[in-house]
């Protein structure tokens, strides 16, 4: 069974916008939010990178998350809730409160057993783990030290101890729901509980390719008749009180090194790139739907998904295999799945992190497989890297580009590392076929092919 799969709804939470309309407007304006990292992170370690892309202040209630829910969810799951709710609204589903609870909903007229949830995340509830781990580790030790500092320490020691106590700051409680907050499948489960969805519920945890792999497998599930509707995408929350997650990427040498000019620091595919811009997080959720199912509902179709493939490098945990043989095999499989030739692809939303290794290898492969005429941009040049959410956000950008026949520029690209057709201006173009690709720590490669719907 090969059924046509279309995108009928989308939602997004990102550092440059909440909601598809604001996000897309800011993409086309090449908006980027770049700020110094929280000052207290540098009290714990010497960091090489100094910048990140913070999320705007977000009221969870605005994302449809009540206080009782927010207190039991990792922030990554809160972001997923907001994106999912917007996606259902945009898809035109009538979201009806449950008879027994105003916090649980169902999608009127849709069979919940024929809807699946397929979300990706790179690190799951790492924030919740670290937040509670700090409490577990320090709460008793800090109380003992504090008592000593206040009752027996000399004035000189007191000053030193106060500094140490400040470094040992922790949250107020060891949370009784910590397990259900940190488990990687929490976001997929929470979204399905919220909207009473009882079909397959899967979490893909493949680092930076998580969102792409999730959407790709959701596409297959709809195409092959496993479900009629798939809620798919990715979410990630990379913040923590002590900069632990940031340090992990920093020590690996993946983050921006040249931070002197914050506005110009993030520059994928540029000769002067120095690493990726760390994002606080984000989420994008797409509603995929079987074409006739969507048409019967009168849904507005954003774009069509026509192909997906994934391969694995089996080379290195941290770097792409030289030559990109498995990436090329993945791309050719995705094109074959979509029934198009490489020459028919008009636009590529690249992985485009801004690291030396990624961009060089990726540009070489694009040149080899697609040639120099295909338009290429990197959404990470605007947002930085949202890890498990990035693939889903970039598929959303690809779909919007096909819908509107225009796309955003590759920001800060002054001296391209290769002679490719990087998008340098927002202009109307004939974009019929688009491809969004992601590569991940571990060695995962994945791409989704989309077609303008007509």
């Amino acid at each position: 069974m090969n059924r046509r799969v279309v995108i009928t709804g989308a939602g997004v939470v990102s550092s440059i916008g909440i909601g598809v309309d604001e996000f897309w407007r800011h993409c086309l304006q090449a908006k980027s939010t770049v700020a110094p990292i929280p000052a207290n992170w540098e009290r714990y370690a010497a960091l090489h990178s100094r910048l990140w892309s913070p999320l705007p202040d977000i009221d969870p209630e605005y994302l449809g998350v009540a206080r009782t829910e927010r207190l039991q969810l990792d922030p990554g799951s809160v972001l997923a809730h907001g994106a999912a709710r917007e996606a259902f609204e945009r898809a035109g589903f009538n979201i009806v409160p449950d008879a027994a609870s105003s916090r649980v909903f169902s999608l009127a007229g849709a069979d919940p057993t024929r809807i699946g949830v397929y979300l990706g995340t790179g690190i799951g509830g790492a924030y919740s783990f670290l937040h509670n781990h700090t409490h577990h580790l320090y709460q008793r030790a800090r109380a003992t030290l504090k008592d000593y500092a206040e009752t027996r320490a000399s004035a000189q020691d007191r000053e030193t101890l106060d500094g140490v106590l400040a470094l040992m700051a922790h949250g107020p409680r060891y949370h009784p729901f910590v397990v259900s907050m940190l488990m990687p499948n929490a976001s997929s489960a929470a979204v399905a509980i919220k909207f009473s969805i009882t079909g397959p519920n899967v979490t893909y945890c493949v680092a930076c390719a998580s969102g792409t792999v999730a959407v790709g497998n959701a596409y297959r599930a709809v195409r092959d008749g496993c479900v009629d509707v798939a809620v798919s995408g990715g979410c990630e929350y990379l913040n923590d009180e002590h900069g632990h997650i940031f340090r992990g990427f920093d020590v690996a040498g993946t983050l921006l090194r040249d931070c002197a000019d914050p506005d110009a620091a993030n520059r994928p595919f540029d000769e002067k790139r120095s690493g990726f811009l760390f994002s606080q997080g984000g989420a994008a959720v797409l509603v995929l739907e079987e074409l006739e199912h969507a048409q019967r509902r009168g849904a507005t179709i954003m774009a069509e998904l026509t192909g997906f493939a994934e391969t694995f490098d089996a080379h290195s945990m941290m770097s792409l295999a030289p030559g990109g043989g498995q990436i090329e095999r993945m791309l050719r499989a995705a094109l074959a799945d979509a029934g198009v030739g490489a020459h028919e692809v008009d636009y590529i939303n690249a992985h485009g992190t801004g690291t030396k290794n990624n961009d060089e290898t990726e540009a070489e492969i694009i040149d080899r497989v697609f040639g120099k005429s295909v338009r290429v941009n990197s959404t990470k040049s605007l947002l930085g890297h949202t890890i498990g959410a990035s693939g889903a956000i970039e598929i959303l950008v690809t779909a919007l580009s096909l819908r509107d026949q225009t796309t955003h520029i590759c920001r800060n690209l002054d001296a391209p590392l290769r002679d490719l057709n990087f998008v340098r201006a927002v202009e109307q173009s004939d974009l019929r076929v688009g491809l969004s690709q992601s590569f991940a720590f571990g060695g995962h490669n994945a791409a989704v092919v989309l077609r303008r719907f007509s």
């Binding site: 206080r67 009782t68 039991q72 729901f177």
Partner: protein, 84 residues
Amino acid sequence: MINDVQQRVLKAIAEVLERKEEEIRLDASLRDDLDFDSLKQMTLFILLEDEFQRTMPPEDLMGIATVKDIIEFIDRKLQEPAPT
């Protein structure tokens, strides 16, 4: 003080149970009258921690059986110095 605490406790209970505040009696048993199971009880206390900005470890909650017990417990908690 007690009226403010009482009002906020009733609001928190109503929030967890999704019921109206006026339906909750002060002498109501959490378990027998309001159908609080252990998960709902944990939810209530993380909500109360958030509301009153005081930690309420499980060992401190032993013996709390009614709405009035919670109000008295919170009132005692608020006499303690705020956490630093």
